[in-house]
Assembly symmetry: C2
Homo-oligomer: 191 residues x 2
């Protein structure tokens, strides 16, 4: 039976990000990542399906958090309240302990067009999850799709601001400010 490795997942993640930056994403192998982390390939594959998943493993969890937060908001919650709840629920993924990984992850994705496409598709999935949840609360189709785009823009704006190397503000505070900014922008689109 495989030995349990303390913090194996985070060691693999840090080793992968270091190698992606040193040698490029394409030139980095799973064997190289495991070796740098002092672990085996089979340990890697217990935590990640492939090297790409090191960059995108939070996607399913975040889509579920967004969806649950919107579906579980009180009946009196407005659409904007639902988006705020969705963003707040994501804060578990953006803790101070994980802050130093974020600029590395962003640099790796910015350097690779295939990963940029994957990031865009991730955002489209978040928008679909939010729109489905809003429709389940009774929102009209177009209103749900627009609100979901606003939610995803608020999320990606908040993530970019949170991930700034010098940032020390917590994700929730940044996310609320981003949503406020977008609500003000939405007002300028009216007829």
């Amino acid at each position: 039976m495989a030995r349990w490795e303390p913090n194996a997942r985070e060691r693999l993640e840090r080793a992968a990000l270091t190698l992606f930056i040193e040698n490029g994403y394409d030139a980095t192998t799973v064997a190289g990542i495991a070796d740098r982390a002092g672990l085996t390939k089979s340990t890697f594959f217990r935590h990640f399906a492939d090297k790409r998943e090191v960059l995108f493993f939070g996607q399913d969890m975040l889509a579920q958090l967004f969806s649950d937060a919107i579906r579980n908001a009180p009946p009196s919650a407005t659409t904007a309240d639902c988006l705020a709840a969705a963003l707040e629920s994501a804060a578990v993924a953006f803790t101070p302990e994980r802050h130093d990984l974020a600029p590395q992850r962003r640099a790796v994705i910015a350097a690779n067009s295939e990963l940029q496409e994957r990031e865009l598709l991730k955002r489209a999935r978040f928008a679909a999850a939010m729109a489905d949840a809003l429709r389940a609360r009774g929102a009209g189709d177009l209103a749900a799709r627009l609100a979901a785009e606003v939610g995803v823009l608020a999320f990606s704006t908040a993530y970019a601001r949170w991930a700034e190397p010098e940032n020390t503000r917590p994700f929730t505070e940044i996310a609320h400010a981003a949503l406020d900014d977008l609500q003000a922008c939405a007002a300028t689109l009216e007829k």
Copy 2:
């Protein structure tokens, strides 16, 4: 020298869509498309880089039209006016003569997850083109990104409504109505 084939491009497009629906996108080959159109493979490759381009060749032209319409709108134009101008400029691609191809194209894309991803990436590119053009007019970054998402939602909603088999309304009229609907939705997102 290659013989000029009248309407070769449209014949290839119609043959490809027919085969994609009959046999599936993956099972269709360029040789099969050319054969069905009564043309050669080399004629196909004078018009399209590969079979996927038959479904997405309008993408670069539309991104350029959106960008030009926004950049060339009068200085007094509001953001909403710019979006309306962008949508109007796309109408050249959605003429009554091309209407019968649209439901086929949508059916092919709906049946294939890779093509659905390509369609999502196409929309992200449209949003980037609109946002760049709005920033070039002096819009703030977040306002430009939100307006671009609204523009792309209006475009994709208008395209879906225009492509309904029984639809006979012109694209421009449908697009203006979609944008109006989205502006009304935006008002509900305010604080």
